[in-house]
C-alpha cells in the first residue's frame, strides 16, 4: 500500500469550463481551466461546488478523466433523478464558471514511474472514468507495462471513450461485456461479467498483476471477489464503487 501522505489544505478555486464534449447520450466530458490546479495523479477525483443565485450550494465528487499533465477534466454521467449531474451534462457550457477542489484520494491511483506489475483494469459503466486517466497516463509515459481492460457496458452506444479505446489495438487489449444489447454479429461477451470471462481476461497471478476495479457495487463485488478466488492478493485489488443499485 505505497502512498504519499497528502497534508496540504485543499481550498476551493474557481475553474472555467474550457470545453464540453458529449461521450454518449447521457455522458459528457467537461474540460476545466483551473489556474491554481496543483496537478493530479491518475485515478484521483475532485469535488465540484455549484452555487445558485440565492446562495444555495450543492457539492459532488467526480473522478478525474484526464491524465496527469493534461488539463483537468471530469466525465459525468447524467442521473435523471440527480441534482447536479443533469446540470453538468445539459446546461453547463464553455465559459461557465464553477468551483473545484482537489485532487482527492491517494489509494486508487496508479503512477507509471513505479509501475512494474501488469495492469488489469475493470470498469462497469462510468467506472471507466478513472481507468481512462490511468490508460492515458500509461500511454503518455511510454511505459512498457502491459495493460488489459475489461469494460462492462449496457450496449456499444453506452461505451464511453469508445473511439479512444479502440485506438489502443496493440498495446492494451480491450474486452467488452455488453449487458443489455449487442449488435447483430457481435462476437464478444454478452451479459454481465462472469467467472469464466474474468478468468480469461485476468493476468495469471504468477506475473504479480495489480487490478483496479471501478463501477457500481454489484459489478465491483463480482469482479473483486472473482479476482481473489483466482488467487489475486486482496491488497492487489483496488476498488472504487459508486453507490446505489442499478448500473450496467
Amino acid at each position: 500500500m505505497a502512498g504519499t501522505a497528502v497534508r496540504r489544505r485543499l481550498t476551493w478555486q474557481v475553474a472555467t469550463v474550457a470545453a464540453v464534449r458529449d461521450e454518449t447520450a447521457t455522458v459528457r466530458t467537461i474540460e476545466l481551466r483551473a489556474a491554481d490546479w496543483a496537478g493530479h495523479r491518475a485515478g484521483q477525483h475532485l469535488d465540484v461546488r455549484l452555487t445558485a443565485e440565492d446562495g444555495y450550494t450543492a457539492e459532488r465528487s467526480y473522478s478525474i478523466a484526464s491524465a496527469p499533465g493534461e488539463p483537468v477534466a471530469i466525465t459525468v454521467q447524467r442521473l435523471d433523478d440527480g441534482e447536479v449531474s443533469p446540470y453538468l451534462t445539459t446546461e453547463l457550457r464553455a465559459g461557465d464558471e464553477l468551483e473545484v477542489r482537489g485532487p482527492i484520494g491517494g489509494y486508487f491511483v496508479w503512477d507509471a514511474d513505479d509501475a512494474a506489475s501488469p495492469l488489469l483494469l475493470a470498469a462497469g459503466g462510468s467506472g471507466i472514468v478513472p481507468l481512462r486517466s490511468i490508460l492515458r497516463h500509461r500511454a503518455r509515459s511510454g511505459t512498457l507495462v502491459p495493460a488489459r481492460l475489461l469494460y462492462s457496458a449496457r450496449s456499444l452506444p453506452d461505451v464511453i471513450y469508445r473511439s479512444e479505446l479502440d485506438q489502443y489495438t496493440n498495446s492494451v487489449s480491450v474486452t467488452y461485456a455488453l449487458t443489455r444489447q449487442a449488435p447483430n454479429g457481435w462476437t464478444g461477451h454478452r451479459g454481465r461479467v462472469d467467472a469464466t470471462l474474468l478468468a480469461g481476461v485476468a493476468w495469471r497471478t504468477g506475473r504479480d498483476p495489480i487490478a483496479y476495479v471501478c463501477g457500481p457495487t454489484s459489478f465491483v463485488e463480482t469482479v473483486a471477489a472473482g479476482l481473489v478466488s483466482l488467487g489475486y492478493p486482496p491488497q492487489h485489488v483496488k476498488t472504487e464503487r459508486f453507490g446505489g443499485p442499478g448500473g450496467p
Binding site: 445558485a52 453547463l92 489509494y107 479476482l227
Partner: protein, 201 residues
C-alpha cells in the same frame, strides 16, 4: 465569494427536518457501498474482537461471547464523506462502553483495525459515553458483508469512514495515529457538522 453557476437552481430538499443534514450533504434512500478493496468474508466461527495495547491482547471476545453482551437497538443518521447522508438507520449493536469497560484499560486514542487491512483512528472520548457501538445487525437482519458484516463500528457523529467495516478490534494508543484514509489525505477527526472532510479542513 463563490461565482453563481448560471442556470443552476438546485433542488432544495424539503424531506429532511432542519438541522438533520450537515453542510454539503444530500439525503439518499439507498445504502451506497464504498470500500477500497475486495469484501472480506470472515465466518463468525473464526471471528474475534480484541482490544490491544502495543500489540498485546488486553481482552478478546469470540462471536458468541460478544453476542451474549447486552445489545441495544440504535437509530442514527449516518453521513458519508462522499456526500450522502442516510437518516434513521437502525442497528443492533453492543456499546463500546461495554467492551472498553470490560477491558478496563485507559487510552487517549484508539486505532480500529479490520479484516482486509483497513484502519481508522478515533479519540477515546468519541468512542465512549454512549456514542459508539460494535454493530452486527442492520434493519432487523444480520449485517451484510458488503456493509461491513459480520460486524462494523458505528460512530454516527463522525463521517462514516470512521465506522470501520469488518472491524476486528481496537488498538489503545496514547497519541493519535492516522488510519487508512487519514494517511491518504482525509481528516484526522472527521466531524460532518464542521465539514472536516480532508486534512486541513
Amino acid at each position: 465569494m463563490s461565482p453563481i453557476s448560471r442556470g443552476f437552481h438546485g433542488r432544495r430538499s424539503d424531506e429532511a427536518p432542519p438541522g438533520r443534514v450537515p453542510p454539503g450533504q444530500y439525503v439518499t434512500h439507498d445504502f451506497p457501498v464504498l470500500s477500497a478493496g475486495p469484501t472480506p468474508h470472515t465466518p463468525t466461527g473464526a471471528w474475534t474482537f480484541s482490544i490491544r495495547r502495543a500489540g498485546d491482547v488486553v481482552k478478546s471476545w469470540t462471536w458468541q461471547e460478544m453476542r451474549e453482551l447486552p445489545a441495544e437497538t440504535v437509530t442514527a443518521d449516518v453521513h458519508c464523506v462522499t456526500r450522502w447522508s442516510k437518516l434513521d438507520t437502525q442497528w443492533e449493536a453492543v456499546s463500546l462502553d461495554t467492551l472498553l469497560g470490560q477491558a478496563g484499560a485507559g487510552a487517549a486514542f484508539v486505532l480500529a483495525f479490520s479484516d482486509g487491512g483497513y484502519s481508522t483512528n478515533l479519540p477515546i472520548a468519541d468512542v465512549t459515553g454512549g456514542r459508539a457501538w460494535l454493530a452486527f445487525g442492520y434493519d432487523g437482519r444480520p449485517l451484510d458483508p458488503e456493509h461491513g458484516g459480520p460486524a462494523r463500528l458505528l460512530v454516527p457523529h463522525l463521517y462514516f469512514w470512521k465506522s470501520a467495516k469488518w472491524v476486528r478490534g481496537l488498538e489503545l494508543l496514547d497519541t493519535d495515529e492516522p488510519g487508512f484514509w487519514e494517511t491518504y489525505g482525509y481528516h484526522m477527526y472527521g466531524d460532518p457538522w464542521r465539514e472536516q472532510r480532508y486534512a486541513g479542513d
